[in-house]
């Protein structure tokens, strides 16, 4: 699958890059980051034009993210009825979601599609979503294209290292969230026990 996609890049060029980034932003499991690294390597080897490549990647990511946001908004009634988690994430995003939205573009990228949906489904306004989203995608595109251009001769090594790093960052984040929720849960339990004894 990955091989086939990588083959699509030189054959179909930027439309292939655009499509895979757009779909990946919506949660389709495609190696968009790997494609972007490879595009960076192709830019360095003169096989792709630099400005157009960067603009294509950035534009596709922004359109993908905002499509996810809109999907969340349109499906908000359905999502709110069926998942309590979405509401909780939404409340958190509204409060101090800028960092979560920014970092989920590149550092904890696997959470990106879920954050798009949750932000759309919750009360987060489009303006609050857009600024950290744009900033995050600038970092993602800038980082991956430059890394690809600089280390294109060791692409598999680079991609392996990056995916491990992103995986580690994501699992650590999820662990931190889980610990926090557990603590809150315990505090609430204790409070309710104390309240029960008091009355």
């Amino acid at each position: 699958m990955t091989e086939w996609l990588l083959a699509a890049l030189p054959t179909y060029g930027l439309p292939a890059l655009s499509a895979s980034i757009f779909l990946a932003c919506l949660g389709v499991p495609l190696p968009a980051s790997m494609m972007l690294l490879l595009s960076g390597a192709f830019v360095a080897s003169g096989d792709l034009p630099v400005v157009l490549t960067v603009l294509t990647a950035f534009g596709s990511a922004v359109i993908g993210d905002n499509t996810g946001f809109l999907l969340g908004r349109y499906a908000s009634g359905f999502l709110a009825r069926h998942t309590e988690a979405i509401q909780k994430v939404g409340a958190y995003l509204q409060e101090r979601g800028a960092w979560a939205i920014f970092l989920s573009r590149w550092l904890v990228a696997p959470l990106g599609p879920a954050i798009n949906l949750a932000a759309g489904a919750s009360a987060v306004s489009w303006r609050r979503f857009l600024a950290p989203e744009l900033a995050g995608e600038v970092v993602w595109v800038g980082l991956y294209v430059s890394l690809g251009a600089a280390f294109g001769h060791a692409l598999t090594m680079l991609s392996d290292a990056l995916s491990t790093f992103i995986g580690l960052a994501t699992s650590l984040t999820l662990m931190a969230i889980a610990i926090r929720l557990l603590r809150q849960h315990r505090v609430r339990q204790r409070k309710s026990v104390a309240f029960g004894q008091g009355s």
Binding site: A7, P10, F165, G167
Partner: protein, 92 residues
């Protein structure tokens, strides 16, 4: 926590694997354009194209597979030829 453990172990395994320089040369794949190959193997793109009797610059973004086809070759045969040329260019 399991996932964190998994990624930590994976990091160590990858570090050991990539520490071996023999693993770093990427083998030629059908999708690689000539310029990408030249960069991967650290040889001049135009020199590589010239040695393969291809016009420099005319094959931008064309994958090896298609180059082989226009030359009426199988990919494997063409890849071996490219590898031989790279060895030759490197030893100069």
């Amino acid at each position: 926590m399991l996932a964190t453990g998994f990624f930590s172990v994976r990091g160590v395994v990858q570090f050991i694997y990539w520490s071996d320089p023999a693993h770093r040369d990427q083998s030629l794949e059908p999708w690689m354009p000539l310029g990408f190959v030249a960069r991967s193997y650290d040889v001049e793109r135009d020199a590589l194209a010239a040695a393969l009797e291809l016009s420099p610059g005319a094959n931008k973004g064309v994958p090896l597979e298609d180059l082989a086809e226009t030359r009426g070759q199988e990919f494997e045969a063409f890849a071996r030829e490219v590898e031989a040329v790279i060895q030759d260019l490197r030893s100069r």
